[in-house]
């Protein structure tokens, strides 16, 4: 999912997000959340300061737990200024993604994979947080899904490749293909870091155009009945490959063999479905950095939805 997009931003920073607790428990920081008796003992909303009207607003947060006396009035802390002025004890927590939203922007149902029709991650939808005294709702896209510099508080970006091909006039034309998320800095050769199928990458990506060769083609099941049959014979859902780009999926020269029609399919195809394969196939001169970046946390990985 992509809740935020930036244009002409070279760097994105983490901002502080304050959670009020009545006692600090290092092993379970959320165990002692300050409650609001008037709201059926719901957790008092968290507090942050850099609002969405600022160009420095970021959905990437470092959580800080501010220890308040038990029985503190729920309305006392609605800005970071008061937390500092009261000299509260503060402990740093994890980094997490929260995207602000209008009250009427919600998920009625959990999103599903558009091709596989499987449930993806369930996105948390919290009704309230306090920003400079103003209440605002937010989505919770989870934590531990991006890397960041703990000194400079900069979020690490990874490339998100959008495939294009040059037409006969030499103009770049986008392919109707699924983009490919990188797992590390461009040409950094970092293997995917995904313990227990929870990727620690992808939440902040920069759009890159990958210009593929004339022999590259998108696998569209409706156009490749033989390939679909081959997959089904192997017990593979053809939609798993829907939208993927094969660098040898199109015949240009007489000696070219379209991989979709080969008996070894899908092994006959050189799939451009990872950062390393894209970089190796198209090369540096055919990868174009754009000025567009996005908050793009992955919600489906390794064949299943990612739990928050």
């Amino acid at each position: 999912i992509i809740p935020e997009i930036w244009l002409h931003f070279d760097v994105l920073w983490l901002q502080p997000w304050y959670v009020l607790v009545t006692a600090w428990d290092e092993r379970n920081p959320n165990a002692n959340r300050l409650k609001d008796p008037a709201m059926m003992n719901a957790n008092v909303p968290p507090v942050w300061d850099v609002g969405p009207r600022s160009l420095f607003y970021s959905p990437f947060w470092v959580v800080f737990y501010a220890v308040v006396p038990p029985g503190t009035a729920p309305e006392r802390y609605r800005s970071a200024e008061r937390i500092f002025d009261d000299g509260l004890e503060v402990h740093q927590g994890p980094a997490i993604i929260y995207s602000v939203r209008p009250d009427d922007v919600v998920f009625d149902t959990d999103p599903v994979h558009p091709h596989l029709n499987k449930p993806t991650s369930n996105i948390g939808q919290a009704p309230a947080s306090w920003v400079d005294g103003e209440r605002i709702a937010y989505f919770n896209e989870g934590g531990n899904n991006f890397r960041w510099d703990p000194i400079k508080l900069e979020v690490e970006e990874v490339p998100l490749f959008f495939f294009h091909r040059r037409n006969e006039a030499g103009v770049l034309v986008p392919l109707p293909a699924a983009p490919v998320m990188g797992s590390g800095p461009l040409f950094g050769r970092r293997p995917p870091d995904a313990p227990n199928l929870r990727p620690r990458f992808g939440a902040y990506s920069r759009f890159h155009i990958a210009v593929v060769s004339p022999t590259a083609e998108v696998f569209e099941p409706d156009e490749q009945p033989e390939a679909v049959a081959a997959l089904q014979a192997k017990g593979i859902d053809p939609n798993v490959y829907k939208g993927r780009v094969a660098s040898n999926g199109r015949k240009v020269a007489e000696t070219d063999r379209v991989c979709f029609t080969q008996p070894e399919f899908p092994a006959s195809c050189t799939w451009l479905d990872s950062q390393a394969r894209v970089e190796d196939s198209v090369g540096t001169q055919n990868i174009v950095r754009t000025e567009v970046s996005a908050c793009s946390p992955l919600v489906f990985y390794g064949g299943k939805g990612i739990g928050r």
Partner: protein, 455 residues
């Protein structure tokens, strides 16, 4: 060391008499080519026919100001700031770090340099003053070595003025010593109509906005540090300027108009570079002034405006707008002065450029507020003790970057000035900075002093 504002106000407000002359002085240039010896148009004696073509004869004892005059001053200071010398609260990781506080608050000298702007590794976006890099450590400072040169032509209504300033500084951790040579001013001025106060200048010169620019230099400033609004109103810039003043004798009054078209307007160079226009369009500024000059009472009122592209980015349609009103009252020796300023800046194009470097975003910004100063100076005439002055200033500034919590800060300043002979000024000053709203309270008060040797 933190003081409550009210208690400090009552303890620090000591009103005596007489205004310091500096607040009244015009810009530090001669008013025209009339400061040479007076003309004596008596008919020439036969033996003086050789001089007849000159049109006048100087009395034998007349003192003639040389066309080229060199002036200057050295400002040496000692300053101590609370905390780490910045306005950043410990543990605050909101970014940019300079957006949630007033980095200009802990000023230590007449240039407005602060004790420190070091935010550690936190990102800042260029809303920063120049820094003396002393942090929270008391230190001697060589604030300014100022050299002025003024050339006043005897044969034409032209004056040329230059002001060069050497600024020895410590560059900060790992950066070593750094001494800057600043061309603070360099301009030529023409008086097209002899006998009038109508001047046209071209070059780099003082701001025309408000009145605080009149005290930019340490030897002219009543106290030591500038106000919280000086960053917007006292910057020098490069362009053309026209000044006209007319006396209305029956009303004991005068009206003046000072107007300029410059690269950057009135912001200080740390915020907007003055030496080039980044947008290709000038910034227009002007002040309309009125003076009532009675024998023992003087009233000076003014209104200022500024409009044009913000010169810290490249979009000519991204505006900066300022309005201001100023007043000065000299009443039986008491000097009261003040200014109200309103600043607005549009969102700028990608890439912000200041006098200190490049930054990513030129955010929309707004500020407004005022400063009020009361001063009393006693002309002692006791040997080397020429004058003794006490002063106090109170100011409030409300400001916000778009999307950031608005800040309201205040400052109470008080100090003492001792004038010895005509070439030595001693000053001591205390700054009580207060975060009223929007910014966490921090220890950023300052005690500073200045010794100004001038020639």
């Amino acid at each position: 060391m933190k003081r409550r504002l009210l208690g400090a106000w009552l303890a620090g407000l000591v009103i005596f008499a007489v205004a310091p002359a500096n607040a009244q002085t015009p810009p530090p240039v001669a008013p025209g080519p009339t400061t040479t010896a007076p003309v004596s148009p008596s008919p020439p004696a036969p033996e003086d026919e050789d001089q007849e073509a000159l049109g006048f004869v100087l009395p034998a004892t007349a003192e003639v100001t040389p066309p080229l005059v060199l002036m200057g001053y050295v400002d040496v200071g000692f300053a101590a700031a609370e905390g780490d010398g910045t306005s950043y609260p410990a543990g605050d990781t909101r970014l940019p770090a300079d957006y949630g506080v007033d980095p200009f608050a802990p000023a230590v000298n007449s240039r407005g340099d602060v004790a420190s702007t070091d935010a550690g590794n936190l990102f800042v976006n260029g809303f920063l003053p120049r820094s003396a890099q002393i942090g929270g450590r008391p230190s001697f400072l060589l604030n300014t070595v100022n050299l002025d040169a003024r050339y006043l032509s005897a044969r034409s209504p032209v004056m040329v003025f230059t002001r060069l300033q050497f600024l020895p500084r410590w560059g900060g951790r790992g950066r070593g010593n750094q001494t800057s040579l600043l061309v603070e001013q360099a301009f030529g001025r023409v008086t097209p109509i002899t006998g009038t106060e109508f001047f046209i200048s071209a070059g780099k010169f003082d701001s025309v906005f408000g009145i605080e620019y009149l005290e930019n230099q340490a030897n002219f400033r009543t106290g030591i540090t500038p106000s919280l609004f000086a960053r917007y109103t006292t910057g020098t810039s490069l362009g053309i300027k026209a000044f006209y003043r007319i006396q209305v004798a029956p009303l004991w009054s005068a009206f003046s108009l000072n107007t300029a078209a410059t690269n950057s307007g009135a912001f200080v160079e740390a915020l907007q570079p003055p030496d080039v226009s980044l947008t290709g369009r000038p910034v227009i500024s002007a002040r309309l002034g009125y003076e009532l000059n009675l024998r023992k009472v003087q009233v000076k009122l003014g209104g200022s405006g500024l409009f044009g592209p913000r010169n810290d980015q490249r979009d000519p349609d991204a505006r900066q707008t300022m309005w201001g009103a100023d007043a000065r009252l000299y009443l039986y020796g008491v000097s009261l002065s003040g200014e109200w300023v309103d600043v607005d800046e549009d969102l700028g194009a990608v890439g912000k450029e200041t006098g200190q470097g490049g930054y990513p975003i030129a955010s929309p910004f707004a500020a407004r507020g005022f400063w009020l100063q009361a001063a009393y100076g006693w002309r002692a005439g006791l040997g080397p003790l020429t004058a003794l002055s006490v002063y106090t200033r109170y100011e409030e500034r409300r400001a916000s970057f778009e999307g950031f919590r608005p800040l309201r800060v205040a400052r109470l300043t008080g100090g003492l000035r001792v004038d010895l002979w005509d070439a030595l000024i001693l000053k001591g000053e205390v700054l009580f900075n207060q975060e009223l709203e929007g910014a966490p309270n921090v220890d950023n008060d300052v005690v500073t002093s200045s010794v100004v040797f001038s020639w």
